[in-house]
Amino acid sequence: MKTNISAMFSGLLFGLGLAISQMINPEKVLAFLDITGNWDPSLMLVLAGAVGVSLGGYHLVLQQPHPLFKGKFYLPTRHDIDLPLLLGAGIFGVGWGIAGYCPGKPCCRRARWVSRWRPDRSRRRGSRPSRSTAPSSVSGWAFTGSRELKRSR
């Protein structure tokens, strides 16, 4: 129970951060990626702010023997640079650059459905585009997941 509440609280902060910084707006993301256009460096500051806190915070946290509610830290163990990492990052970047959505944003944009009942019509329109990215992201994962499974058998 403590685990779930911690996770929810952390998710809450994350979602709030994405919404306040307008990172749920794909056009804002694309404005950062489009360096030759009307460049908007906001995303860089979001990342800088987040890394600034987590760099110090992680350092302090990892000095503890274990997290508060769990027996151990679940950290990635790999350190080698391999082709799937580079290729995967490259493919992700291409997809991200097309529409301006990375995995967190379609999830958050679904939050718009929650606030749909508000009587302001102008705000209701246009929530549809986000519908298509989340399922296709999941199907992309499922696709590579099944490939991996086949390979490991």
Binding site: F14, S42, L45, S54, G95, P103, T144
Partner: protein, 149 residues
């Protein structure tokens, strides 16, 4: 540069950083959205008739949605919602993002926020690669194919 919003960007970034530190400090997990989302659907987590330590992922995603939703509910959106972006392109983008984050084991949050904070060589390299290819693909989309809205 007139759309630059440094104050809200830093504020949002600080919140995201706090979220990542809390998740690691409390339950020892990396706040990578693609990893959490994928793990939530991972059939491999189903063993011996029970889901193996999986519910926290759903709680995180629920929080993520409520956090963003709650903010939108309280504060009217300050931006015009994008309309009429071609759906086939969105689907293609989604599939590429899905394959890419799975293959490269991370996205902007996992590699970008948490990976850099752990000073992971893999993550720092991945971030450089995906920002580069993203800028390239945005450039092609907007300036060659004219997808500028």
């Amino acid at each position: 540069m007139e759309n630059f919003t440094p104050v809200t960007a830093i504020l949002g970034g600080l919140l995201i950083g706090c979220s990542a530190v809390l998740l690691l400090g409390l339950i020892g997990r990396i706040a990578g959205i693609s990893g959490i989302l994928f793990g939530a659907f991972d059939y491999d987590q189903f063993r011996d008739g029970t889901w193996r330590d999986n519910t926290w992922r759903w709680w995180f995603l629920f929080g993520l949605l409520s956090g963003a939703g709650g903010y939108i509910w309280l504060v009217p959106l300050s931006f015009e919602v994008r309309n009429g972006f071609p759906v086939p392109l969105l689907v293609m983008a989604g599939i590429l993002v899905g394959i890419g984050t799975r293959m490269g084991s991370g996205c902007t949050s996992g590699h970008g926020v948490c990976g850099i904070a752990r000073l992971s060589r893999r993550s720092i390299l991945a971030v450089m690669v995906f920002i580069f290819t993203a800028m390239l693909s945005t450039y092609i989309m907007r300036h060659w194919l004219g997808m500028n809205q």
